[in-house]
């Protein structure tokens, strides 16, 4: 009786995976054609891309006019986007009607702002408090003195002459910087136990939230001057900034209130039992946690505020969008796609800023994450 047993002493070499799961074919199979439904979606998707991409490419790049002396090159049949027009009018889009000899003042403001805001946003940078004081308190004064002029030997430039991206950034930044503290105060006030403060805050928030921003701007630019006494005029740009700020503060207040309510009651009680008074318990215990929770909501409001700045164009302030629109009346560059190119450019600029804010908020969320995910 033979004892025929065979024991392998080494492992069998693994077989090659089924051809349908490896390589390009495998990737295609798992990702694009795994089921009949997915196959259909893939085909539809590819057809959509084939339909949309070539004309888009041709318009934006292929047939686009990048270099030209005037609109004649863009007026030919089949020409795409007229980027040369954007390039030629770039100065207007950035500075508006700001006198060309004085534009260095705007440039200094841009450079100074960048030099202050980058270390402020970069968590590892030192001297945060000094930096914050410089940016929030000193910088606005410097900007005002530099842009407005009329002192230190600088010629006076009225705000009517400010324009373009400069004004968009001024309104956006001023709105963001002023509306956040105001919004936090309103949120705290709304949760206050003092009836007068509570009622005032509720009234303010509900009033401003219920009114469209366009209405606010119209009131500020058309009606206010009629009610004001003769000879008293508040600067139009300032009126718009105040309108945008108050409007956005009401929204921020509600976002922050959401954060305050999401904190467990124990946190409030813990702060109280430590003997902290109201400002300290809010500043040291409650707000840091509440604000962290509401970063997405706050940044959401900031982004919408930044985009809402373009509404000031309807009250005749030359923000970026308005400069783009009014440069369409420049007949030197008149061409069939002049308007479209301008709007694309404005959209791209807004996208860059808003996308930047959104990415930064995600970065901060990850950084401040303490693992207390619910």
């Amino acid at each position: 009786m033979y004892k025929t047993s065979f024991v392998r002493t080494d492992m069998i070499a693994p077989m090659a995976p089924p051809p349908s799961t490896v390589g390009v074919k495998g990737w295609l199979h798992t990702n694009l054609f795994s089921t009949p439904g997915n196959t259909l979606l893939t085909i539809v998707g590819v057809m959509f891309l084939l339909w949309i991409v070539p004309p888009l490419y041709n318009f934006l790049i292929g047939n686009a006019v990048f270099v030209a002396d005037d609109g004649a090159a863009c007026r030919i049949e089949g020409a795409g986007a007229c980027w040369a027009f954007i390039w030629d009018r770039m100065n207007f889009f950035i500075y508006g009607f700001y006198p060309q000899d004085e534009q260095w003042r705007v440039n200094i403001c841009f450079a100074l702002g960048l030099a202050l805001i980058v270390p402020l946003l970069w968590p590892a940078a030192p001297y945060k408090i000094a930096n914050a004081v410089l940016f929030f308190l000193v910088y606005p004064v410097i900007v005002l003195i530099l842009l407005r002029g009329g002192s230190f030997g600088l010629s006076y430039v009225p705000t009517e002459s400010w324009g373009g991206l400069t004004v968009t950034l001024i309104i956006g930044l001023a709105g963001i910087v002023c509306s956040l503290p105001l919004g936090i105060l309103l949120a705290l006030g709304r949760r206050s136990e003092l009836p007068v403060i509570k009622m005032l805050c509720i009234a303010f928030i509900e009033l401003w939230r219920a009114v469209p921003l366009i209405t606010v701007l119209f009131m500020a630019s058309v009606m206010l001057p009629l009610f004001a006494p003769q000879g008293v005029t508040v600067d139009k740009l300032l009126r718009a900034v105040i309108g945008v700020t108050l409007f956005e503060a009401a929204y921020l207040a509600e976002a922050v209130r959401g954060g305050l309510q999401a904190l467990p009651r124990g946190q409030y009680e813990a702060a109280d039992s430590l003997g902290l008074n109201y400002p300290k318990s809010m500043g040291l215990v409650i707000l840091p946690q509440a604000l962290k929770l509401t970063i997405p909501g706050i940044v959401n409001s900031f982004i919408s505020l930044f985009k809402d700045t373009s509404l000031v164009s309807i009250v005749g302030i030359f923000d970026l969008l308005n400069t783009v629109q009014s440069s369409q009346s420049d007949l030197r560059w008149g061409s069939p796609h002049q308007a479209v190119t301008g709007y694309l450019f404005a959209a791209a600029v807004f996208w860059v800023f808003c996308f930047g804010m959104s990415r930064y908020s995600m970065f901060m969320e990850r950084r401040l994450d303490t693992g207390h995910t619910r």
Partner: protein, 352 residues
């Protein structure tokens, strides 16, 4: 969308109903403040004229290549500044939308409104403003493709017409076709950009709006020569400057700035030859340029006020040729805007 009536397509005729409601309310609120202090003294002490302009209408008021305001209506403001300060740059421009323009004028935010504004009876009588002249006689016209071989608006029976909605343009077109018993198919769009694009893409046979706007839009087309503007003008749109009611000196100054530039053209005094013309023997020219008599003092100016306008800005013809005339991209013939002696209706009372 009446509230979002953008500056750059806010042509004189295209007033939106909503504006009227709002402006009537504003006008009621005004009543009392109509009696103003002397604007002329105010302007002199400020050192500049505040001029309400559009957000950008080609040829009338629009930013030029070096970011300065330029155009026919901007030149009018420059003429005012030249007459008062001997310096056309002493103007501060305030861009206004069509909704806020009258309120801005009556509340004193601007000293003069020179903003493609149509002079109509209701505006002149109810808004606390006074129109002081017609810088440009505009009117609604039609643009067609030359290939369609249409020579007159009377041939437009059955045509599809691109119109911007919510404007008097729509009403004017309806009136015109009803009055001439013609069929037409209106295709309505919200904004001027959209309307023009639709016409260019061939979605309609005809595009209608003010004729100055037609000419400006045509210059942007890939092949402007393929399009024709029909001779018929179906509405009256006199565009001119307006000032606050209740200040006669300023109103008369505004009016005579306009008369002076028209008179200068009639007398052949241009920006180029104004220095030689000072030596002219023609008594009318002498009075215009302040060589003889003093016509400025009653307005609070000196006797050379008109000379300063002509020296710095030029006469009406100079302004017209520089901004909307045949040599510009807009390329509008003088037509109605020619002097009365050349077959137009620009006419000014004499200076004497």
């Amino acid at each position: 969308m009446p509230l979002i009536h953008r500056g750059h397509n806010a042509w004189g005729s295209q007033e939106v109903n909503m504006n009227k409601v709002m402006l009537t309310a504003v006008a009621v609120a005004l009543g009392a403040s109509a009696a103003q202090a002397a604007t002329m003294d105010d302007v002199k002490s400020k050192g500049y004229v505040v001029c309400g302009v559009t957000g950008g209408v080609p040829g009338f008021s629009a930013p030029d290549a070096s970011n300065n305001w330029s155009g026919l209506e901007v030149d009018y403001c420059k003429a005012m500044a030249a007459a008062i300060f001997d310096d056309p740059s002493k103007v501060r421009y305030t861009p206004l939308t069509s909704t806020e323009r009258f309120a801005a004028l009556s509340s004193g935010q601007v000293d003069v409104l020179s903003r493609t504004t149509t002079w109509t009876m209701s505006r002149d009588t109810t808004l606390g403003v006074v129109f002081t002249g017609t810088m440009f006689y505009d009117g609604q016209g039609f643009m067609v493709r030359k290939a369609d071989k249409i020579a007159s608006a009377k041939d437009l029976s059955g045509a599809a017409i691109c119109i911007e909605s919510g404007t008097t343009t729509e009403l004017n077109a309806a009136d015109f076709f009803a009055a001439n018993k013609l069929e037409y198919k209106p295709i309505v769009f919200v904004s001027q950009d959209e309307t023009v694009k639709a016409f260019e893409d061939g979605r309609c046979d005809v595009y209608t709006t003010d004729s100055s706007a037609l000419a400006a839009e045509r210059s942007k087309f890939a092949k402007p020569e393929d399009y024709a503007i029909l001779p018929e003008i179906i509405s009256k749109e006199p565009l001119g400057p307006a000032v606050r009611a209740g200040d006669d000196t300023w109103m008369k100054f505004s009016r005579w700035v306009y008369y002076a530039i028209v008179n200068a053209e009639e007398l052949g005094v241009t920006k180029a030859n104004v220095e030689e013309m000072k030596k002219s023997e023609n008594p009318e020219i002498k009075r215009l340029l302040g060589v003889e008599g003093d016509f400025g003092t009653p307005l609070g100016l000196d006797k050379e006020w008109a000379y300063k306008i002509l020296k710095h800005v030029g006469n009406y013809g100079d302004m017209y040729e520089a901004h909307v005339g045949p040599k510009t991209p807009i390329g509008l013939e003088r037509g109605l805007n020619a002097l009365w002696k050349d077959g137009g209706i620009q006419y000014a009372p004499p200076i004497r």
